[in-house]
Amino acid sequence: MSWLGVLLVALIAYSTKLAGIIIPNSILERPYVSKLAVLLPVALLSALTAIQVFGSGQSLVIDARFAGLSAGVVAYFLKAPFILIVLVAALTAALLRFFFGVN
């Protein structure tokens, strides 16, 4: 993967954090900006979830990843911590592939 991308993404993130600390509050303290900061992660993370589970290049498929996510969702509602949700999802997909040859 490109080193330029890795360094740029880090630079932009750092600049965003620093901007908040040094820019006078009046510029950032608008309802629109704070609303946006809450809504952007909701939209992007939801889209990323869907694409990572159903996307395969430019087609959509249902495979072991979906079973993994489903198990992860159950773990979430059972109040499991982040790391456990991820582990349960991985394990579910891995077992389905190993024992049942699911794609």
Partner: protein, 223 residues
């Protein structure tokens, strides 16, 4: 209220437990990044320099799925907008002097801001909480990243261990706690549908990015 030794100890312990809990999922970031085509060094540099979990997962997720560097950059950076607002709050609460701002900025994340907010009774307590949580997460997150990256490079095909399934579950676990209002739930549902509908039509990375427009329009209406 001043920062008494008892309070200092209490805040520190809390910061360490936050660091351990949050840091632990650095293992999944390390494993996912390393199996998405990033070298161990690149994976580690992302945790050392980018250091904001959701953006890190997004960047490697988009590029790992074949998206361009540009869509990865845009997605990760839009996710990081909230850190700018956290920076504002941290500046108000802790009043960093000159050069300290450069250092405070790097550890301005969800967890450090949350703990500073919790102990906002004085500048001293907020500052201690911010630094303790920020540093604690920084250390554990980076150690865990390296562990995950090393584990992933030693297992071979990431599909065998379901690492590809872990990515989607990871994003779900990041977004689920944010679905605390009707508006957020509807936006999440719309984003899922739009991203899936656009997948056959646009190159990888763009369908996710397009959902940022939904958030922008909604935020405008709520303004």
């Amino acid at each position: 209220m001043s920062l008494t030794p008892v309070l200092r100890r209490q805040i520190s312990l809390e910061a360490i437990s936050i660091g351990l809990a949050t840091g632990a999922y650095g293992i999944s970031f390390g494993a996912i990044a390393a199996s998405s085509g990033f070298s161990i060094l690149q994976t580690q540099v992302l945790s050392l320099l980018l250091f904001t979990g959701a953006s890190q997962f997004a960047y490697v997720g988009v590029l790992g799925a074949g998206g361009s560097v540009l869509s990865g950059l845009a997605t990760a950076s839009l996710l990081g907008v909230r850190n700018g607002l956290y920076g504002m709050r941290i500046a108000q609460l802790t009043k960093p002097a000159g050069w300290q701002k450069l250092f405070f900025a790097q550890i301005t994340i969800d967890e450090s801001t949350a703990l500073a907010n919790k102990y906002d009774q004085s500048q001293d307590t907020a500052r201690w909480a911010f630094l303790a949580a920020g540093l604690s997460v920084y250390v554990f997150w980076n150690i865990a990243t390296l562990t995950g990256a090393l584990l992933a490079t030693s297992v071979g095909d990431p599909k065998t261990f379901g690492l590809d399934a872990a990515i989607g579950a990871g994003f779900f676990a990041l977004v689920a706690p944010r679905l605390n209002s009707r508006l957020n739930k509807l936006l999440a549902l719309a984003a899922v549908l739009v991203a899936l509908a656009l997948t056959p039509l646009l190159t990888a990375g763009l369908p996710v990015l397009a959902t940022a427009l939904l958030a922008i329009v909604l935020a405008k209406r709520a303004d």
